[in-house]
């Protein structure tokens, strides 16, 4: 967890050429208001750049928004990089993504995909639960 204690630390990123940033900006603000430590990457990032940023900031979660159909390539590149670097950062996403692709994304290690219309509290709850899970192994190990 972050140095700040229990506050989940999240990087929200726009990867690829797509510039639709309404969703990410609304989500970033909502996560801040939920008390999380939140960073926003800005537009047009590469998978390499956001993975480096996620590791540098030592975040718990990396959320990637994509609305132009490139999700399979983008998430596959990011999860590969995260694995290569032995990172425990949890990956999630949002945007225009067909139901049929969600299984493939899940196999790549994407924890959740949020479709348009998702209530913000659902994303907040998801992040809280992931952070709780991330701490669980330590607790069970002490038993």
């Amino acid at each position: 967890m972050s140095v700040m204690g229990n506050r989940p630390k999240v990087l929200i990123a726009k990867v690829g050429l797509d510039g639709h940033d309404r969703g990410v900006k609304v989500v970033v603000k909502a996560l801040e208001e939920a008390g999380f430590e939140v960073y926003y990457s800005g537009l047009h990032q590469t998978p390499e750049a956001v993975v480096d940023k996620a590791l540098e900031l030592n975040v718990d979660l990396l959320g990637v928004s994509t609305l132009c159909g490139a999700h399979l390539t983008i998430f596959s590149a990011i999860s590969k990089l995260l694995r290569q670097k032995g990172s425990r950062v949890k990956l999630f996403g949002g945007g225009i993504i067909p139901e049929a692709d969600k299984k493939a994304l899940r196999r790549m290690g994407v924890e959740r995909i949020f479709s348009p219309g998702t209530p913000l509290r659902e994303i907040v709850d998801f992040i809280r639960s992931i952070c709780k899970e991330k701490r669980l192994p330590k607790i069970t190990a002490q038993k």
Binding site: G16, L17, R22, A30, G69, T73, I97, E99, P116
Partner: protein, 541 residues
């Protein structure tokens, strides 16, 4: 007024109704609400200044709006097939959706294009692709709209050269390129170069097109994307018209007379969910534009003050939940556009929260327009809502609110300054947040989303899948083109373009030469990346 109703009938009245822009609504409207309206001054007849009731005397009685579905995916050949399918089904104009690499000026073999080729639109790398895209389509008989901005000159040049090679004179070509770079910084974020050189590319296109392609619309000043990014109807209206004024001023500064180019400026608005507010927005837009063009810019020809516009239903109102509901939303939004007097209309498909439209969903979207046109009877009377106390009152209010925004923009130092300081971007995202909060608190209801939900329902609608082999195919063809073309001529024409771009000459003739020699989109844009530099948006939220 509200209190009176309560006491008279003893009924509970919904508290504090307002439009989506936040304009308060009364329970009903009376002549008192439009007492200040002067019919001839503020409305006039259809086809009469200030054109509130429509720019043409006979509107849809003479010709229906153009039914134009934004389409494009995969290769040029695949998109050509979709175009011809839609035309056979009764579509009356074409509208090209390009893929992200094309929109951002990258060839399909660029590392930044990886995984994005042909996915959210058609991949166009060179004149060769453009020739395939319009195969068996008579360019002198169809009107074509191209949603392209930062690289607009290149795609426009490709279209022109396709016509040239078929022996079609430029003055027989009708269509539109979006070419509205200002709203890219504000909302859609598909910019490449910094604002100033970008504005020069825009005015170069306007100047060239005015003189050589007289029936073409060289710019489509767009509010659509601002609205999708979260703007209210009032913000969309004001910021779009302010962009329009900026292009007018820049083109006049480039030495053109207002009456030479203004008749070909066109607009593009969003049709969102608030029925009467949207209709009022379209009507107010026409009136404001006519007044400003005549009074502020001293335009003399009637056509110079006409606000001609394309409309698209609001993609951001579509829901992934119970997606069939989207069909109904789109129908109402399309009806608003027609009641507002649009010249051209795209109806969204029900499946667009998941993927690009399937053939079946696109057909249904087209049928929606056809039902409005041929079954409802709304096209039989021009501006049928004129004189409605509510609609006229809202139209007045939209104009007042827009004027306040123009003053604010002026006080802040004009459009470019406001863009650089992120003023519009911040205003729009604040509106987006307010809208989202209203949904979360259920102050605004979206059926199937925050009321009458079926959270357990598994959505299964067939969606379009772009063949993943498109990228490889594009790269293969690009390689083959580069081996076949005269590379010395390509280099020469790119070199001449570079020189012209450094100076102040109109770059369009040089772009045309590069295109004729089969220089690729990426090669041409790279010249400008080198000369103009690249724009990076400051991170703000």
């Amino acid at each position: 007024m509200k209190d009176e109703i309560k006491t008279l009938k003893g009924e509970e009245v919904k508290e504090e109704c307002s439009t989506l822009s936040g304009i308060p609504l009364k329970p009903f409207y009376t002549p008192a609400d439009i007492a200040c309206l002067d019919y001839m001054r503020d409305l006039g007849l259809p086809g009469q200044y200030p054109y509130t009731r429509g720019i043409h005397e006979s509107m849809y009685l003479a010709r229906l709006w153009t039914m134009r579905l934004f389409s494009g995916f995969g290769t040029a050949a695949q998109t050509n097939k979709r175009f011809r399918f839609l035309l056979e089904e009764g579509e009356t104009g074409l509208s090209v959706a390009f893929d992200m690499p094309t929109i951002m000026g990258y060839d399909s073999d660029h590392p930044r294009a990886r995984g994005e080729v042909g996915l959210c639109g058609v991949a166009i790398d060179s004149l060769e692709d453009m020739e395939i895209l319009f195969q068996n389509i008579a360019l002198d008989q169809v009107t074509t709209s191209m949603t392209i901005n930062a690289p607009a000159s290149v795609l426009f040049a490709m279209y022109l050269v396709v016509a040239e090679k078929r022996g079609i004179p430029f003055d027989k070509l009708h269509g539109t390129i979006q070419n509205d770079i200002l709203k890219e910084y504000i909302a859609q974020k598909s910019f490449i170069f910094p604002p100033k050189p970008s504005l020069r590319l825009v005015t170069d296109i306007i100047a060239y097109s005015t003189r050589h392609v007289p029936k073409w619309n060289p710019v489509s000043v767009s509010g659509y994307h601002m609205r999708e990014a979260g703007a209210t109807a009032v913000q969309e209206l004001a910021f779009t018209l302010a962009d329009g004024f900026t292009y007018v001023e820049a083109t006049m500064e480039a030495g053109l007379d207002i009456d030479e180019f203004a008749p070909r400026i066109s607009f593009f608005f969003n049709s969102h969910s608030d029925f009467f507010e949207e209709i009022a927005k379209f009507r107010a837009a026409r009136r404001i534009w006519a007044r400003e063009m005549k009074e502020r810019y001293k335009a003399k020809r009637p056509e110079s003050v006409w606000l001609r516009f394309h409309t698209q239903t609001a993609g951001c109102t579509l829901t992934a939940q119970q997606p069939e509901n989207n069909i109904v939303r789109v129908a109402f939004q399309a009806l608003q556009a027609v009641l507002g007097g649009t010249q051209s209309l795209h109806t969204n498909s029900m499946d667009e929260t998941f993927a690009l439209p399937s053939e079946k969903a696109a057909t249904l979207a087209l049928r929606t327009q056809q039902i409005i046109a041929y079954e409802t009877g709304v096209a039989n009377t021009i501006d049928p809502l004129a004189g409605s106390y509510l609609v006229e009152s809202l139209t007045n209010r939209m104009e007042e609110e827009a004027n306040k925004h123009f003053q604010e923009i002026g006080q802040r130092g004009g459009m470019l300054r406001c863009i650089e300081e992120g003023y519009f971007q911040k205003e729009i995202i604040q509106s987006a947040r307010r809208y989202q909060e209203a949904l979360e608190r259920k102050e605004r209801i979206i059926v199937g989303l925050n009321k009458y939900e079926h959270p357990e329902e598994k959505v299964i609608i067939p969606t379009l899948k772009v063949d993943p082999s498109v990228e490889k195919e594009q790269i293969r063809r690009l390689k083959s083109l580069k081996a076949r073309r005269d590379n010395r001529k390509v280099e020469e024409s790119l070199g001449t373009l570079r020189e012209a771009s450094r100076g102040r000459e109109n770059v369009m003739p040089y772009v045309l030469d590069c295109v004729r020699n089969y220089a690729t989109l990426g090669e041409i844009i790279n010249v400008w990346r080198e000369v103009f530099g690249q724009y990076r948006e400051p991170v703000m939220y």
